[in-house]
């Protein structure tokens, strides 16, 4: 999601940033291209028109002409406007009400209400520690209620027992009652899919709302929706009244225009986004991060958060300690490779790194996929424990054996060893205490031990996309196609680019040139 749009926009804006001075005609031409890019991403026409008008006004005005680098100024304007359109701040689910807090899910058929309900319930239970009850008010689609019951079992959340023949309003009342009696904190009401033209169905939803008095009414909408997203969001907001929006199927290859439109049209925040088939594929929606991702600036904050959530702090601290002492062996390398895989593999990480959108094709051409990680782990697994601790043992005959054992070639092993050596050297240098943004990140990743605090994260965020000159999208300038082939590692965590350093040496292990 967003990649397509990201690719298009950064291409257009790149051309601008290379120019010294901008004429009104330049801005016009760029604005036309931005308009087309947005429309092809399914952003609603009215939103696009407003966006372009403001863009032109600001871009042709004083702001740009006086700035030293007009092109970069335009990028900044687009970025600011994207954030404005998406909403300035993240707006999470609000549970600040007397228990049981009712949350009602509405939407079209097939938008993902039931799946989202289950994901949300899982999150409320496990992360926010709320006792949650789910109830399906879908009396229409065959087996809809069973679906929620099955999902409830899967995620370990209670569902309201099914009583045949009740109306949705009756079920809602029964759910609230059961919520009170059962001491539940939250009652999630999953309603039937409905089209906005069906007056009876819309009236029913409004009635359920009156009966259950939900604290949150969330519109579940498919991120692949086209221009109709506007009608959809408007009607649900007018007829039922919304407090927020959940975008599903963000993991598709759509361009996410609906995300830009819905907030603008309803004024209601996008609170959550569904990011996969698994039950934990639900994330908070952070407008600034999404805007950064759309402009190809990457999403470093999410990356760090993800790292913090996935990485075993103790293990990381232990590794860090060993690194400082210069004892970084192949066991440690394997651990790091495995951690990368856990964090979503190369693909997942890359999506969040600055300036990567443009390189996706080159990466595909260079065959840089997750198999590479697996293969490298396989190589290490084919070594004896002694070899792993002491890679210097590896001479030709041992390499042959390992190559046969892991289904690779001796040169792959050489590449891995070279990478390991490079990393170990880097570790020593890092350990000796250079300071800078990279060291700060190193700290977070485990060098200093402990998890990054929100403040630290914020600081890092400021250092990153905002702090970079808008036009100097890291990677836009610094990462020519020769990206693979640099085995140098700037930091303690494989896969993180040299944050803040202008050159952005890519840190992906073993990006050895492929033939």
């Amino acid at each position: 999601m967003f990649d397509g749009l990201s690719e298009r926009l950064s291409g257009i804006l790149d051309r601008l940033t290379r120019r010294g001075a901008l004429s009104a005609a330049d801005v016009d031409a760029a604005a036309r291209e931005v308009r087309r890019a947005l429309l092809e991403a399914d952003v609603a026409l009215d939103v696009v028109t407003g966006f372009i008008t403001t863009l032109k006004e600001r871009a042709v005005g004083v702001e740009v002409i006086k700035s030293v680098t007009p092109g970069q100024m335009v990028v900044k304007i687009v970025h600011d406007q994207l954030i404005e359109t998406l909403g300035a701040t993240a707006d999470p689910i609000d549970l600040n009400a007397p228990a049981p807090v009712a949350i009602m899910m509405v939407g079209l058929q097939g938008s993902g209400k039931t799946t989202t309900s289950a994901k949300l319930a899982k999150r409320l239970t496990e992360v926010m520690k709320r006792k949650t009850l789910m109830a399906s008010l879908d009396t229409r689609r065959p087996a809809a209620m069973e679906q929620l019951a099955v999902l409830g079992q899967q995620v370990g959340v209670d569902t309201l027992p099914i009583v045949a023949g009740q109306t949705p309003v009756q079920i809602a009342q029964r759910a609230i009652q059961a919520g009170k009696l059962g001491g539940y904190d939250v009652v999630l009401l999953d309603t039937a899919g409905r089209i906005t033209l069906d007056d009876a169905m819309m009236a029913e939803a409004a009635e359920v709302r009156r009966a259950a008095q939900p604290h949150e009414v969330l519109l579940v909408a498919d991120a692949l929706t086209g221009q109709d997203a506007v009608n959809l969001a408007k009607s649900f907001n007018e007829r039922v009244g919304l407090t927020g929006i959940v975008l599903t199927r963000i993991d598709g290859d759509g361009r996410g225009g609906a995300a830009l439109s819905m907030r603008a049209v309803t004024g209601k925040p996008i609170k959550l986004m569904g990011t996969g088939e698994k039950m934990d594929g639900l994330e908070d929606f952070h407008p600034t991060r999404i805007a950064d991702r759309i402009l190809g600036m990457g999403d470093i904050v999410s990356l760090v958060e993800k790292a913090a959530a996935t990485i075993d702090a103790e293990k990381a601290a232990r590794t860090a300690e060993r690194m400082r002492k210069g004892q970084f062996d192949l066991n440690d390398l394997r651990e790091q490779l495995e951690q990368m895989t856990k964090m979503g593999g190369l693909g997942g990480l890359m999506g969040m790194l600055p300036g990567i959108a443009k390189m996706k094709n080159q990466m595909a051409a260079a065959n840089l996929d997750d198999k590479l990680l697996k293969r490298q782990v396989a190589i290490i697994n084919s070594m004896t424990p002694r070899e792993r601790r002491n890679p210097d043992l590896l001479k030709n005959s041992r390499k042959k054996r390992i190559a046969a054992g892991s289904g690779t070639r001796a040169e792959d092993i050489n590449k891995l060893l070279k990478m390991h050596r490079g990393m170990a050297d880097m570790m020593k240098a890092m350990g000796s205490g250079k300071r800078g943004p990279m060291a700060a990140l190193g700290n977070m990743m485990g060098f200093g031990g402990g998890m990054p605090s929100p403040e630290e994260m914020q600081k890092l965020a400021e250092k990153m996309p905002g702090g970079l000159p808008p036009g100097g999208l890291p990677g836009a300038g610094g990462l020519p196609p020769n990206m693979p082939g640099l085995p140098k590692m700037p930091g303690g965590f494989p896969g993180l680019p040299g944050l803040g350093s202008g050159k952005l040496p890519p840190g992906f292990p073993g990006l050895g040139k492929k033939k």
């Binding site: 058929q109 097939g110 065959p142 906005t196 498919d222 221009q227 199927r249």
Partner: protein, 312 residues
């Protein structure tokens, strides 16, 4: 190909939808043309109207240009413009409006139904089963969506409604082996039409697309000509992403035709015009409601007129 009562029912639904949608093309064109002559700015606005219907930038520009040709600076009525619009779109759509022909020599005739999550595959299968049963064919359903909770139950309920036997396994089972079993069983029981449901999948998930490929591959072991039809189900609300869906699903499973669902909402499904312009895949049916009969053959003229906002 469709009798008048049937045509009327979905036609009225489409019209009903338009009359209540403030941003519908019909009103937009009326507003636009009644105000001024057809000049470059007006053509551009017409183009925007088409973009709103999800035709996509390229196709909208093409259609709008065709409307402008030879009519610059002439005063035209709203209806004239709409008629020209409809005619232009019909030109694109007419070649793809083809009914789904059941080849009687294939026994069973295997229909594989695929699409992204929530596009309406299972409901469409229920409607297809009802239609084929009504035509006197022996229908069997295979519950190949072994992923989504209660999808099997949903299909079983449709099986009961349409009196079609349902071959099902347990949730989480291998969909390809189920397809194999179903095809073997259908052969043994002299079934005419076997319709296979599949789990919804996003077209950019390589693993899931690989699974789909396997379903097709495995079926060919029983009957080399199967599946005889591969229907991609598209939701009318979908935007430009539908183009990528058509491409990817065709590459993996060889889509032979399209079904567009949920045309009873405010979405006009204009993306079909863009798909027709680019891929020329037959469009067999449109879904206009949740009822068992709410499936109609696709008629290019009617559809084009509905998108353009023309009355009857």
């Amino acid at each position: 190909m469709n009798d008048s009562t049937q045509k009327k029912s979905w036609w009225q639904r489409l019209k009903g939808g338009l009359s209540r949608t403030s941003s519908s093309i019909g009103t937009a064109i009326t507003d636009l043309v009644s105000k001024r002559r057809l000049d470059a700015a007006a053509i551009e606005e017409l183009e925007e109207v088409l973009i709103r219907a999800d035709l996509g930038v390229a196709v909208a520009a093409k259609v709008a240009a065709a409307v402008g040709e030879g009519r610059y600076d002439k005063s035209v009525t709203a209806d004239e413009v709409k008629t020209i619009f409809a005619a232009e779109m019909e030109k694109i759509l007419a070649p793809v409006a083809q009914p789904l022909v059941i080849d009687g020599s294939a026994k069973p005739f295997v229909i594989l139904v695929i699409g992204v999550n929530g596009s309406g595959k299972t409901t469409t299968i229920g409607k297809l089963a009802a239609k084929f049963s009504a035509e006197g064919r022996r229908v069997m359903l295979a519950a190949g969506d072994t992923f989504r909770a209660a999808a099997i139950e949903q299909l079983k309920i449709w099986g009961t409604r349409t009196q079609a036997p349902v071959i099902a396994s347990t949730a989480g089972a291998d969909a390809a082996s189920l397809a194999f079993e179903a095809l073997t069983a259908a052969k043994a029981q002299a079934i005419d039409v076997l319709i296979i449901d599949t789990a919804g999948r996003l077209q950019n998930k390589a693993g899931l697309m690989g699974e789909l490929e396997k379903i097709v591959r495995v079926m060919k072991k029983v009957d080399a000509s199967a599946p005889h039809a591969v229907l991609l189900v598209l939701d009318a609300t979908v935007g430009q992403n539908a183009l990528s869906q058509v491409e990817e699903f065709s590459r993996v499973a060889g889509v032979t035709g399209l079904v567009m669902t949920k045309l009873d909402g405010t979405a006009r499904g204009g993306i079909l015009v863009a798909i027709a312009a680019k891929h020329r895949l037959p469009v067999h049916f449109i879904g206009v409601g949740e009822g068992v009969d709410d499936l109609s053959p696709f008629a290019a003229g009617d559809f084009a007129r509905a998108v353009a906002g023309l009355d009857g």
